[in-house]
C-alpha cells in the first residue's frame, strides 16, 4: 500500500518517515524511531502507559494515527531528562519508591509533567485527577502521589 509521509518533531528532533495510513503514533514511535520508553498496555485508551504530549497536550498515543502527528511536536519519556540529568520528577520517583515493575511509569511521568507545567502547586486531589488516566497495577498509587507531591513542594525529591 502507498504510504503517507509524516514529518514531525519528537523531543526536539526532526523526523521524517513514511507510514501506512493505519499506523498508530505509538507504533511509529516505538517501531520506526526506536523510542521504546513509551509502552503499550491496553491499546484502547484505558491505561495511559502510552501517554505522550502532542503540541503540549497529553494524549494516548495508541489512539492517535501516525499521520495525525504530521507537523506536530511530540514529547516522550525519552525527552524528559536532559543528557545524563534526570528530570526532578524522575529523581523523585526513584527516591520515593514510586516505581515497581515500571510499566506504567513513562506514562505517569508524562502526565505528572503536564500537570506540574500547568499547575505548579497542585493539591492531592489535583494530583489524583492529573494521573487519573494512568493505571498502575503495582504501587497502589500512594508512593506515586508522594513522589509528585515532593516535587511540588520544591524539594525536587532530594530530601527525605
Amino acid at each position: 500500500m502507498a504510504k503517507v509521509k509524516v514529518e514531525f518533531k519528537v523531543n526536539g528532533r526532526e523526523y521524517s518517515r513514511e507510514v501506512e495510513a493505519a499506523t498508530r503514533l505509538l507504533d511509529l514511535l516505538r517501531n520506526e524511531l526506536g523510542l521504546i520508553g513509551t509502552k503499550e498496555g491496553c491499546g484502547k485508551g484505558e491505561c495511559g502507559t502510552c501517554t505522550v504530549l502532542m503540541d503540549g497536550k497529553p494524549v494516548n498515543s495508541c489512539l492517535v494515527l501516525a499521520p495525525q502527528a504530521n507537523g506536530r511536536e511530540i514529547l516522550t519519556i525519552e525527552g524528559l531528562s536532559s543528557g545524563d540529568r534526570l528530570h526532578p520528577l524522575q529523581d523523585a520517583f526513584i527516591k520515593k519508591g514510586a516505581v515497581q515493575c515500571g510499566y506504567c511509569t513513562p506514562g505517569i511521568l508524562i502526565s505528572a509533567y503536564y500537570l506540574l507545567k500547568n499547575n505548579p502547586r497542585p493539591n492531592r486531589d489535583d494530583i489524583k485527577e492529573g494521573i487519573s488516566g494512568n493505571l498502575c497495577r503495582c504501587t497502589g498509587y500512594v508512593k506515586i502521589i508522594e513522589a509528585i507531591e515532593s516535587v511540588t513542594e520544591g524539594r525536587e525529591g532530594h530530601e527525605e
Binding site: 503517507v4 493505519a22 484502547k44 494516548n60 489512539l63 487519573s132 488516566g133
Partner: protein, 291 residues
C-alpha cells in the same frame, strides 16, 4: 480527489466535504478516541480515513450576546476549562469534566461525542437540556436539527454519511436560570455513565419554568423526558411533586441490562438523580420559594 493513500487531511471543510461526497464510506476522524478503539482489532479494515482534526472552520468557540456556538472540534478539556462557560453553563463544564481522564478529554471532541451517538455520551444530556441545535455541513449546504431529535438509536443519528457535524448552538440562558448534570459511574475516573441526568430550568416567582430534562444511558438514545418535565413545569418550589416526577421519569426511560448495571438498577438510580438534582438546584443561593 479521492483518497489515494488511505488517508487525507484536507485544509478546508469544502475539500473535506468533496472527499466525503466521492467516498461516503471513508471514516471521519476527529480525536480518534472512539474510532481507534472500535478498530483496535482490525485497523486494516478501517478503510480510507478522512482526518478533519485540522479544519479551522470546526474549531470556533463563540460566546455572543444571545447565543453560544461550539465548533465540533472543541475538546472536552476546552469546554471544561473555559472560564466563560464555567460561569454561564457550569453544568455543561461539569459534564465535560466527567469524561474519561485528562488524555481522553484533550483528544475527544464534541462532534465525535455526538456523531458516535452512544446513549452514554456525556455532552448530550446537558446540551439537550440547553435545547441546543446541531449543525451539519453537507454537499447540498447546511442542515440543522434540535439535538433532542438528532439521535435515532445506539450509534445512529439523522446525519447522512456525506455530512460533517460543524457544531452546536444554544441560546444564552436568561433570568434565574439553573442547571445541573449528575452522572453515576462505576468509579471516579474513566467511567462511562451507568445513568446520567441533566436538568435545566428557571426559578421564576417561586415557580419552576422552562424545565428541560435529559437523561443518558437509560434509553437507546440520550433521552429528553418531556412527560416528566410537564409534571414539574409551573409547580411551586415549596412542595414540588418529586416522587410523582421520579416515577414518571422511570417510566419514560427504558434502560437495558449490560456490564455496567441492570435495567432495574439504572431505573432506580435515575429516579434518585432527579431528586438529588432538584434538591441541589433548590439549595443553591438565591432561591426564593414565594417570588
Amino acid at each position: 480527489m479521492i483518497i489515494d493513500l488511505g488517508y487525507a487531511a484536507p485544509d478546508s471543510l469544502q475539500k473535506a466535504l468533496q472527499i466525503l461526497k466521492e467516498d461516503p464510506s471513508c471514516k471521519v476522524l476527529a480525536g480518534g478516541t472512539d474510532l481507534l478503539v472500535k478498530f483496535y482489532d482490525a485497523r486494516e479494515k478501517m478503510g480510507n480515513v478522512l482526518d478533519i482534526s485540522r479544519l479551522e472552520e470546526l474549531k470556533g468557540l463563540e460566546i455572543g450576546k444571545d447565543k453560544i456556538f461550539l465548533g465540533s472540534l472543541t475538546s472536552h478539556e476546552q469546554i471544561y476549562r473555559n472560564p466563560q462557560l464555567q460561569k454561564i453553563v457550569p453544568f455543561l463544564c461539569r459534564a465535560a469534566k466527567s469524561v474519561g481522564a485528562p488524555q481522553i478529554r484533550h483528544q475527544g471532541t464534541l462532534g465525535g461525542n455526538l456523531a458516535n451517538a452512544s446513549p452514554a455520551a456525556d455532552l448530550a444530556p446537558p446540551l439537550i437540556a440547553l435545547d441546543a441545535v446541531v449543525f451539519l455541513a453537507g454537499p447540498e449546504g447546511e442542515r440543522s436539527f434540535k439535538l433532542a431529535d438528532f439521535f435515532t438509536g445506539p450509534g445512529k443519528t439523522r446525519k447522512n454519511p456525506d455530512e460533517i457535524i460543524s457544531g452546536v448552538e444554544f441560546a444564552l440562558p436568561k433570568g434565574d436560570f439553573r442547571g445541573t448534570f449528575l452522572k453515576v459511574g462505576q468509579r471516579r475516573a474513566l467511567a462511562i455513565a451507568v445513568a446520567s441526568l441533566a436538568i435545566a430550568l428557571n426559578f421564576q416567582d417561586g415557580v419552576v419554568k422552562n424545565i428541560r430534562l435529559a437523561a443518558g444511558s437509560v434509553a437507546p438514545v440520550p433521552l429528553r423526558a418531556r412527560k416528566t418535565e410537564s409534571i414539574l413545569e409551573g409547580q411551586k418550589l415549596a412542595g414540588l411533586p418529586l416522587d410523582k416526577a421520579a416515577d414518571q421519569l422511570k417510566k419514560e426511560a427504558s434502560p437495558i441490562d449490560d456490564i455496567r448495571g441492570t435495567g432495574d438498577y439504572r431505573s432506580q438510580v435515575l429516579g434518585n438523580l432527579l431528586r438529588k438534582g432538584m434538591y441541589e438546584l433548590l439549595s443553591q443561593e438565591g432561591v426564593r420559594e414565594n417570588g
